[in-house]
């Protein structure tokens, strides 16, 4: 039933990959995914990916961390068991605020960092026991794969174009 084919084009250099990505998009084909061994600057822009929303997540996780830390310290140090340290006033959170800043900061960073990492892993579905989506293990070493999904009728044209753009190997499946 499927009249779509997956084309995996293997490249040996990030500059060649970048120009190939730009050419392919200029020719009007949509790039499904690119697998690289290291982050390539400007690739997301060249692929036409939407801007990441992880910054919004980071902000929300950070705010959660700030609130949790504040609540925790207020409950422990002020409300439940007022603790006097070094003669500092302990009847209101506000008066002792400089002492609470480092923990608030740490907790904010902790929640933002862990939240972002977990969100990333879940969103990309990189979890223990999940089979890898990577089409070629060499992309974890020194090769780059551009993955395209095209109609069966376009396959020959695309393969020719990709080869011309400098691909070392092209696989169609």
């Amino acid at each position: 039933m499927s009249n779509k084919k997956i084309i995996n084009a293997l490249y040996g250099d990030d500059d060649i990959l970048m120009s190939a990505v730009k050419k392919t998009r200029a020719a009007g084909f949509k790039i499904k995914e690119v697998f690289t061994p290291f982050p390539v600057h400007g690739l997301d822009h060249a692929m036409g990916l939407e801007r990441t929303r992880i910054a919004i997540c980071a902000f929300l996780y950070g705010i959660t961390g700030t609130c949790l830390a504040t609540l925790m310290m207020w409950y422990m140090m002020i409300s439940d068991w007022p603790t006097e340290v070094g003669g500092k006033p302990n009847f209101a959170y506000f008066y002792n605020i400089p002492a609470f800043i480092p923990i608030t900061f740490e907790s904010t960073v902790f929640c933002a960092a862990h939240g972002m990492a977990l969100t990333y892993l879940l969103r990309c579905w990189i979890l223990p026991g999940v089979s890898p989506k990577n089409p070629d293990p060499r992309t974890t070493d020194d090769k780059f794969v551009m993955q395209l999904e095209v109609k069966e009728t376009d396959v020959d044209k695309v393969v020719a174009m990709v080869k011309e753009s400098g691909a070392e190997e092209v696989k169609v499946n």
Partner: protein
């Protein structure tokens, strides 16, 4: 494409800088003439402390811009950064300002040694004399450190080495334009590495000598870094604003959005460094609450009426860059950068004001002609000198080994 490599100092900007200097000088003279000191002070007993404190604030703040730019220049050589090559001439020109502002600062302090002003309590010889009613055993214990020959060895020595390193780096950079090759570049890398090590120790000690010793009974090991981060950000703002100004006027074709973004990142990041050091110093002292340590904050928060200004300086210098420069788009937007840059530039001057004023003048004198006069005078001089220096060399270091990389800088 014909590149616009030579900067011509437009007469309009020249006039502006002269107006600033003239107005500043007028206000400074007026301030000096009408400065009669606190009411009831007998004639001849008042040493124009308010006036001299402001001269010291501006001399230090503006010296810091030149020194910060020198540090940045050395940092970029030592780390072999490529992206800065496209706007290298700008911070080089700013660093040349050290040759004007450095000697001015040393001169201002030297006047204290000759008792023209009494900003530094420990420069009075009677505090070391056990027979004198002014004897102060806390200062007398530091006599070895403040002995004039040792103090002046440090002050003159540090300034001399900094200025010498600046001149060496700049001259080799100019020589590279003529000679080509990489020899001068790698010589500069070596000089920069040595300068950075020297600067790392001496910037702290200089901050103790010139600013912390105003509160001679007080000490803080965090103080040197705190002052240093302040001068560094002032230098970055000056560089960024001049780069944007030159771009607006059709120069620096090779400076693209990524370069601006990187300079914006510096401004953002060093604001955090400064806030971090400010808060570290405050929080540790506040928490430990040891009488000999809290005097500094006592003078600023409890007595003398600086409380509002003290916290304002911290919140503006911390919150403004954080809120307005956090996003990537804001760091590429010249309107955001210039607005935030100008405001925190003023507030970093106010930070030096917060260091000097409570220790010298005492009660909060507010902001008036005493403060504005010297500031305008120095600002006008700074603009005139730095813009003049920009005309002296091509705006693009054509033979810099990383110039091609810098032209294609993209993040």
């Amino acid at each position: 494409m014909q590149l616009n490599l030579t900067y011509t100092f437009p007469s309009k900007l020249k006039t502006t800088s002269f107006v600033l200097m003239g107005l500043g000088l007028l206000l400074t003279i007026l301030a000096f003439v009408f400065d009669h000191g606190p009411e009831g002070a007998a004639h001849g007993e008042y040493n124009h402390t308010h006036f001299w404190a402001n001269i010291l604030i501006c001399a230090f703040f503006f010296m810091g811009i030149g020194l910060g730019a020198t540090f940045f220049m050395a940092l970029k050589y030592a780390s072999e950064a490529h992206y800065t090559a496209a706007f290298k001439r700008v911070y080089e020109a700013v660093s040349d300002w050290l040759w004007i502002a450095g000697p001015i600062l040393v001169l201002v302090i030297l006047l204290g040694q000759f008792h023209v002003h009494h900003l530094y309590h420990w420069m009075d010889p009677s505090v070391y004399d056990t027979a004198s009613p002014h004897f102060d055993n806390k200062i007398a214990a530091k006599e070895g450190y403040f002995t004039p020959w040792f103090f002046w060895l440090r002050t003159a020595g540090f300034m001399f080495v900094w200025m010498w390193c600046q001149r060496t780096l700049r001259n080799r950079s100019l020589l590279e334009d003529q000679a080509g090759g990489t020899l001068n570049h790698f010589k500069n890398v070596k000089t920069s590495a040595i300068f950075l090590v020297f600067f790392g120790f001496t910037s702290s000690v200089a901050a103790w000598d010139w600013l912390m010793s105003l509160d001679v009974h007080w000490f803080s090991t965090m103080f040197g870094w705190y002052v240093f981060s302040g001068i560094w950000i002032s230098a970055m703002i000056a560089t960024l604003v001049i780069v944007l100004y030159l771009k607006d006027n059709g120069y620096l074709e090779h400076v693209n959005e990524s370069h601006i973004h990187d300079l914006g990142k510096w401004m953002f990041a060093i604001s955090f460094l400064w806030s971090y050091l400010f808060f570290c110093q405050f929080m540790l002292i506040w928490y430990a609450n040891i009488p000999e340590e809290v005097t500094y904050f006592q003078n600023r928060l409890e007595t003398n009426g600086y409380k509002f200004m003290f916290w304002l300086v911290f919140f503006v210098n911390f919150a403004l860059p954080m809120l307005f420069l956090m996003s990537r788009d804001a760091k590429r937007n010249r309107r955001f950068l210039i607005t935030v840059g100008f405001i925190i530039f003023i507030f970093h001057w106010l930070d030096i004001y917060m260091i000097v004023m409570p220790s010298t003048v005492g009660r909060n004198p507010g902001i008036g002609i005493f403060e504005i006069g010297p500031f305008l005078l120095f600002l006008g001089g700074f603009i005139y000198f730095v813009m003049g220096k920009l005309t002296k060399a091509p705006l693009l270091p054509v033979n810099h080994p990383y110039i091609e990389e810098s032209k294609h800088h993209s993040i």
